[in-house]
């Protein structure tokens, strides 16, 4: 059982939780993930670690309420417990040896992009942070991202923050203006990661993307998280979650990730009814 020490709503759909997990906190590195299970009947869900404090023994996760499991997680409050919390899984992002990096986050992906930017910034690397959201109300971690970057570019799809466009628009402009990035890290929805990878390909800029595929054990047993990278089968849980964006077969990944979408929707409706019933009672 893992105690929730803090719970904060970042926007209407995203929540931050600080969880007591001292052993995981001691070993965690940027890019790694945990798997949680809310209760006996729950799924095992992977979430990339958003932050960790080895002194305090805490691990921070940020999740978007998109499916039954994240909604169920969100019913828990401070001082309550998550049944299972296992990690740190996956290979940490290799951040050594870079001089000028663009760290790109899309929506909830900013929660994972932020610790990468922080680690690079703390190591003295020049960091441009580019973050994209659907609208201004959904913006999260603005101050935090600003604090760990040389420049923060905040984009909104609808322009409601006064800066209309996609993250790729900002990245392209910077590259065209002569910013010589030696690494681009893109974390967010698959179409965004694909678009960023396509943009950087002709410039030959190394591009790392972070995968969050279907997974059960997270230790290399089930094979559910397999993706095709450079024509070879790779397992996101032990070979990743980071991969070379120029090598990933995004089309296959997008299809595989929606395997259970209809079931997810049914489950979510079931959950909504559950919550509604509780409220009525």
């Amino acid at each position: 059982m893992f105690k929730i020490l803090e719970k904060t709503a970042l926007n209407p759909s995203m929540t931050k939780m600080v969880v007591e997990a001292s052993l995981i906190a001691k070993k965690a590195k940027p890019g790694q993930f945990i798997i949680f299970r809310v209760d006996e009947f729950g799924e095992r869900v992977p979430l990339t670690i958003a932050d960790y404090d080895s002194e305090k023994g805490t691990v921070t996760i940020i999740y978007q309420k998109v499916g039954r499991s994240t909604m169920l997680l969100d019913t828990l409050n401070e001082d309550e417990y998550i049944l299972d919390f296992v990690g740190p899984l996956g290979v940490p992002t290799k951040l050594d040896g870079y001089k000028k990096v663009a760290v790109i986050g899309g929506g909830a992906g900013c929660a994972i992009a932020y610790p990468q930017a922080k680690a690079l910034h703390n190591a003295g690397v020049y960091v441009d942070m580019i973050a994209g959201f659907r609208n201004t109300d959904l913006i999260i971690l603005e101050e935090e991202m600003k604090a760990v970057s040389n420049n923060l570019y905040l984009m909104t799809d609808d322009g409601s923050n006064g800066n209309k466009g996609f993250v790729t628009n900002a990245l392209e402009q910077n590259i065209k203006n002569g910013t010589d990035y030696d690494l681009v890290i893109a974390i967010g929805p698959i179409p965004m990661m694909r678009a960023v990878s396509e943009l950087t390909r002709p410039y030959g800029i190394k591009t790392i993307v972070s995968m969050n595929p279907i997974m059960i054990d997270g230790t290399g047993m089930c094979g559910g998280c397999r993706i095709t990278v450079g024509g070879k089968t790779k397992f996101a849980c032990i070979d990743g979650p980071d991969f070379d964006g120029h090598e990933v077969d995004f089309a296959e990944l997008m299809k595989r990730n929606i395997t259970y979408r209809t079931m997810e929707q049914t489950a979510r409706e079931k959950e909504c009814r559950l919550i509604k019933n509780v409220e009525v009672n």
Binding site: L23, E43, D84, I216, M221, T233, T259, A267
Partner: protein, 462 residues
């Protein structure tokens, strides 16, 4: 009086067309009367060849002798001098290739049904024994066991009985390894596994779940924490795929994933959140026990047509005869001498078929099995909405890739001394699938038991 009936006392089981629609156990086990009847078939012969066929050397004639006397608890005590998990072994051991293959009664007729008797004794104990288990006196030494499958649990149980303080680290949220995630409920009820595990806990074994050793703690850190020896029983690793077109389509599962969703994550039960595709037509690729488990599970999820696609003939199938027999009875269709060459998908990326080619058997290969050769122009398509790949796996890489000094062979199997199960790193022992590649529960248990003996000698000699 010896019962000279040439055949085994039949096992009561659910009718095939009933059981293929539920996950309840297929065989319900001997009654007292049946057990007495079968035990009386044992000649208690002088050389007891059956024991030599058992990887953990259960004193078989001795326990059967107790059954004959109606002393079932005594029989249980005899079995547990050698086996830590009798209710499991009685169900999933390939007895026909082990103890029963050596039985004198098998020369003229059928062998004594040692497996069914073992299961009877273990179940009798679980139903009748009082809860108290005597906890052995501690010898003050600490041993860590990584993985709570059959190898790890046996190693832990054996050491605990010697007085060691044993901690078992399990990566999943539930202990049991392949007994929980792999072998289906209808062959091995999970309540039985958990009862066996609770017996080990009463012996003083501490089980820590959600602990991925190699990530959250390293093997070296376990030594720093005061463990004097470490046993690695991390089992199956990455599932093998065929490397053919379409393996990334929606509806292609590894058998590990398909079975884990059903067994550990209980996707077949309404109250669990685990999603699973419930296919109408399924092709299971492979000819081992895991393939049979996957095929029979698919039937129970409601599939109408379930195919086993295997590139050799039935004679070469590695699955137990009993499993093949059960699968056929339940309606699994065997497409033998058929080799998959492509998974076919639709525009949504979903599986709609499996293209295969017919095979003929050619010359025997190095292992003595006749090598299948494709028959040109014999391609055919099975219309399926799911394909389950059950062609084995490579050992779990997490420990060897994160621990210096543990050497593995080209296939990724940890290298050990076959007698002592000692790895190339001092104080570290290993056994089970992580050493052998995919094998049986009882072989893993044998390795766990041998390792426990070596660990005992190692610690005492320090």
């Amino acid at each position: 009086m010896t019962n000279m009936c040439p055949t085994k006392t039949p096992m009561p089981e659910q009718a095939p067309n009933v059981r293929n629609k539920n996950f309840d156990e297929v065989a319900s086990g001997y009654t007292v009367e049946m057990a007495l009847n079968e035990a009386a078939r044992c000649l208690n012969c002088k050389n007891h060849p059956c024991i030599t066929g058992c990887p953990v050397s259960v004193p078989i004639p001795n326990f059967i002798e107790q059954v004959v006397k109606g002393e079932f608890e005594e029989a249980y005590k005899v079995i547990t001098t050698a086996s830590s998990l009798p209710a499991v072994c009685g169900r999933v051991c390939p007895q026909e290739a082990q103890c029963e293959s050596k039985c004198v009664r098998g020369i003229k007729g059928e062998s004594v049904s040692i497996g069914r008797l073992e299961r009877f004794v273990a179940d009798y104990h679980l139903q009748h024994a009082d809860e108290a288990v005597e906890k052995p006196e501690s010898n003050g030494h600490k041993v860590a066991v990584i993985g709570s499958g059959p190898a790890g649990l046996t190693c832990a149980g054996t050491l605990a009985k010697m007085g060691y303080s044993v901690t078992v680290f399990e990566a999943f949220h539930t202990a049991g390894g392949v007994l929980m995630y792999g072998i289906p409920e209808f062959r091995l009820p999970k309540a039985i596994v958990q009862k066996e595990i609770s017996t080990l806990k009463k012996l003083g074994v501490d089980i820590e779940t959600n602990m991925v050793i190699g990530k959250v703690l390293s093997v070296d850190e376990l030594f720093e924490d005061g463990f004097e020896a470490v046993f690695v029983g991390t089992g199956a690793g990455l599932p093998n795929f065929m490397g053919i077109e379409g393996e990334g389509l929606i509806g292609v599962y590894s058998a590990n994933e398909f079975l884990t969703r059903i067994n550990l994550m209980k996707a077949y039960k309404e109250e669990y959140d685990t999603p699973i595709i419930r296919p109408k037509n399924v092709a299971v690729v492979g000819g081992g026990n895991v393939a049979m488990d996957a095929a029979r599970s698919a039937l129970r999820l409601g599939a109408e047509n379930v195919y086993i696609v295997y590139r050799r003939s039935e004679d070469e199938m590695p699955a137990r005869n009993e499993e093949i027999h059960h699968a056929k009875e339940e309606g699994v269709i065997f497409k033998l001498l058929s080799n998959p060459i492509r998974v076919i998908g639709n525009d949504d990326g979903k599986v709609v078929g499996l293209e295969c080619v017919e095979m003929v058997l050619g010359e025997p290969d190095a292992g003595g099995r006749r090598r299948p050769v494709a028959k040109e122009g014999s391609n055919f398509v099975l219309n399926t909405d799911a394909v389950i790949i059950a062609i084995g796996n490579s050992p779990n890489p997490l420990i060897r890739s994160t621990t210096e000094g543990i050497e593995a062979n080209a296939k990724g199997c940890i290298i050990v001394d076959e007698n002592t199960m000692k790895t190339t790193k001092e104080g570290v022992y290993a056994g089970g699938d992580t050493v052998t590649g995919a094998a049986t529960v009882i072989k893993a248990m044998g390795a766990g038991r041998n390792a426990a003996k070596s660990i005992d000698e190692y610690i005492k000699s320090k």
